[in-house]
């Protein structure tokens, strides 16, 4: 049995920021990550991190943009925290060494982003996530924090609503081990890979979210899935919103700047849900290029500016599409990008189970509501990652000893469950996972309607039944990819079920959840958060009120 006061699961931005806070407060903290720290998907974030550090800007203005962007589903008390703490967190990253791009006067540069009334997105070229991730990693090395590198957590142990630790597998040798903790922090990121077309890293399967769900913790607002408007056609690698922030245009095949028909005032810088729907509509109505894409044109920005501020996406286009955006437009289409929903947690990252925290994309705090603004996710990770660290440090000082029995029992039953997965005569994970991705892509996408959503729920149920006879044929102990993927597949099915069912039941259109059979937002019936609990029959849905303080819901136009 491995013992630490606190273990942070996940090595992306929110997890690292949380671990640093705990360490600085003198807590015995360790990190468990299924990939080496710097391989986390946070490193792929391009465009930037929002903070109202400009002299004419204010946290109130940032908060208003965030709430309006969320289509009024965000909790305004947590949004207030997000926006008030933003400048401190960004300046802290600068002090720790992040190589932010600079203005002429040497201060941190800021660029316009979608849905924002002020250019408040601080950036490091178009590699902002990479820069912040490496800065935090350097900070972890400096602190000498223990890292369990390449371990997959397979089960949380929660007894009487209190988290006692978890079972994890060392991917190096497939051995299971149990961790005893006073507090556990989930910082495991999103689930993009349950869709065919996603900007997410291949590792993003949402397994951490399902760990909490399986342990009885509710998932919140999972039907709100962000589709990024501009992903590179073919591979769906992200092409940053910064490309439009710096002045890029979107054109259909008739060379029309079609955004004039959808958001005549904000044009290309409308929020992501609106731009994604606009592009999808152009595709669906035959005004896109064959194969289903539109053009993102930045050629008029000139080579120097592109190299200086968008060098990363230029290289991506050259390497992955054989196109130089200095010379020709980029073919783009919408793709799954981010999860607004996640493990239900509060302003300190605390979930309903004592000693269990959730931060970053795996959590729903809820600062993004029904649609996240670009530049707010990196901010979310460092603000609430730190806050969870502060809270957990305090929490663990007041705890007494607990029995080890539930932990050893969990280890034994997990060992049995995994050995039962080994064999030659059952379903293989890859065919189930391919079918899951297909049904989510086709039926729970940018535009949704009842029949398709019902089909998705039915499909997922059938796949869940098939997954019960899933077998792993590979017996090798070291980095057994087949075993890893088979374990994670069941989590992917859990999340798909919750997302599809939540989307089917929510009969309105709000933010990224757009129902072609219920076109309007319905505040009377649906200004509320979805909570999904696991039952033997599947998800049970409950609802809770949205926290509204300053900004009363208004019609959302751009």
């Amino acid at each position: 049995m491995i013992t630490h006061d606190v273990v942070v699961i996940g090595g992306g931005l929110s997890g690292l920021r949380c671990a640093i806070e705990l360490h600085e407060r003198g807590v015995d903290v360790a990190i468990v990550s299924k990939v080496p720290l710097i391989r986390s998907h946070s490193g792929a974030a391009q465009g930037g991190i929002n903070a109202s550090i400009g002299s004419d800007d204010s946290w109130e203005s940032h908060a208003f943009d965030t709430v309006k962007g969320s289509d009024y589903l965000a909790d305004q008390d947590t949004v207030e925290i997000l926006c008030k703490e933003a400048p401190d967190r960004v300046l802290e990253m600068e002090h720790w060494g992040t190589n932010f791009s600079r203005k002429d006067d040497g201060t941190i540069a800021q660029r316009p982003f979608g849905g924002a009334g002020f250019p408040r997105t601080c950036y490091a070229g178009d590699r902002t996530g990479h820069n912040i991730l490496h800065t935090l990693h350097e900070r972890i090395l400096r602190a000498g924090i223990k890292v369990y590198r390449e371990w997959l957590v397979t089960r949380l142990v929660i007894e009487d609503d209190r988290c006692l630790g978890f079972v994890a597998m060392d991917l190096l040798n497939s051995e299971l081990e149990v961790f005893k903790t006073k507090a556990t922090v989930l910082a495991t990121g999103g689930y993009g890979r349950i869709y065919q077309k996603s900007t997410n890293a291949i590792i993003n399967k949402g397994f951490g979210i399902s760990l909490a769900y399986r342990a009885g913790v509710p998932l919140q607002d999972m039907e709100f899935v962000q589709f990024h408007p501009t992903t590179l056609w073919g591979t769906n690698i992200l092409i940053t919103e910064g490309a439009r922030g710096e002045g890029g245009y979107l054109y259909n095949k008739d060379h029309e700047r079609f955004m004039k028909d959808y958001a005549s005032s904000s044009m290309e810088l409308a929020p992501r849900d609106i731009v994604a729907r606009s592009i999808q509509q152009e595709i669906d109505e035959g005004r896109a290029f064959p194969g289903g894409y539109v053009h993102l044109d930045i050629t008029h920005l000139g080579k120097d500016l592109i190299e200086e501020r968008l060098g990363g996406i230029r290289q991506i286009c050259i390497d992955f599409a054989g196109i130089d955006p200095v010379e020709e437009p980029i073919p783009v289409q919408p793709g799954q990008h981010y999860s607004m929903g996640g493990i239900s947690s509060n302003k300190d990252g605390a979930t309903p189970a004592s000693g269990l925290y959730a931060v970053g994309e795996c959590a729903c705090i809820s600062v993004h509501g029904a649609n996240r603004l670009g530049g707010n996710s990196l901010l979310d990770t460092v603000v609430f990652g730190r806050r969870a660290g502060v809270h957990a440090a305090d929490y663990v000082t007041s705890l007494g000893e607990t029995s080890d029995d539930p932990l050893t029992q969990a280890l034994d039953s997990e060992k049995t469950a995994i050995s039962e997965m080994m064999g030659n005569d059952g379903e293989s994970y890859s065919s189930i996972s391919e079918e899951l991705k297909r049904t989510m892509q086709e039926n729970v996408g940018v535009f949704r309607e009842k029949k398709e959503l019902e089909k998705a729920v039915e499909d997922v149920k059938k796949l869940e039944a098939r997954a019960r006879s899933l077998k792993v044929r590979t017996e090798a102990r070291e980095f057994n990819l087949e075993l890893l993927n088979a374990i994670e597949l069941k989590g992917m099915l859990d999340l798909a079920h919750v997302i599809a069912l939540g989307a089917l039941v929510r009969e309105e259109s709000r933010g990224a959840h757009y129902r072609t059979d219920f076109l309007e937002r319905d505040d009377k019936n649906w200004l509320k958060h979805t909570l999904a609990y696991l039952t033997p029959e599947g998800p049970r849905l409950e609802y809770k009120d949205v926290n509204i303080t300053i900004f009363q819901p208004q019609r959302r136009t751009y």
Partner: protein, 255 residues
């Protein structure tokens, strides 16, 4: 169809397997490896994460050139010889006029193999840690951000672009013969912090003392292989040369 000839290893057992993969336009080598792993042989193992050349997980030896699998297009590899039998780690490959339907895939050199294409990265990460790769900050931290001119920011950027993929390490002749050599990635990182105007003088000095050694900048053969293979254009050797100059200049000042 394209054939992947993959070096397999399980404990002491080493062998090569040949897999036929149905390729398609735009397919990169990482996707081809997944095709093998999911459809032909579930036991194959390799590292991956972002598939967009930003995470640095999938460095391997492709036709004897160390590269990121995700960033390498199968269609380009069709126009290359496999260089099978050549013991050298190459830095570029020739282009052929005719199609070559085979790709040779081996683990990243200079690190021990755990299984198949997965190598033990622990030594690489430990060497990195040796050079104190972090900023200590000065004592008078400003209330707002540190002011930094754009020129310095751009200079730093070349080195902060490093993704620690260890491809440079796999190409380095010094790393091959001296496992204590910090290596191009760690030394490039040392230069990145030396260059940073926000760095505390004491930490800068301590780091310079660490790299002022045969395990450090004086161990480098200055053959620029790391510069040639870096997928992010980081240029470690230039950083090593700068560190050498910095050390020499400081010594002259002391004299």
């Amino acid at each position: 169809m394209i054939k992947l000839k993959i070096r397999r290893q399980d404990g002491e057992n080493v062998w090569y397997d040949l897999f036929e993969v149905e390729d398609r336009p735009g397919m990169n080598l990482l996707e081809a490896l997944f095709y093998v792993q999911e459809k032909l042989d579930g036991s194959l193992t390799f590292r991956y994460s972002c598939r967009g050349a930003v995470c640095g997980s999938c460095g391997m030896l492709i036709n004897r050139v160390p590269r990121l699998a995700c960033k390498t297009q199968v269609s380009d590899l069709r126009k290359e010889p496999t260089n099978e039998g050549n013991p050298e780690v190459l830095i570029t490959n020739k282009k052929t006029e005719t199609d070559n339907d085979e790709i040779l895939i081996e683990p990243l050199p200079n690190l021990d193999v755990i299984r198949d294409l997965v190598v033990d990265m622990d030594p690489f990460y430990s060497l990195l840690e040796s050079v104190r790769p972090w900023l200590e900050m000065k004592n008078d931290i400003p209330e707002k951000e540190n002011i930094m001119d754009q020129e310095t920011q751009v200079k730093l950027e070349q080195y902060t672009n490093c993704i620690l993929c260890a491809i440079c390490h796999g190409s380095c002749p010094v790393a091959e013969r001296d496992r204590k050599y910090y290596g191009p990635a760690a030394l490039a990182k040392a230069w990145r912090f030396d260059l940073d105007p926000r760095e505390n003088e004491e930490n800068r000095k301590e780091r310079l003392e660490i790299v002022d050694s045969e395990s450090g900048v004086w161990g480098c053969d200055t053959v620029y292989k790391c510069v040639a293979v870096c997928p992010k254009k980081v240029a470690p050797t230039l950083g090593i040369n700068e560190l050498r100059n910095r050390i020499d200049t400081n010594k002259k000042k002391e004299e």
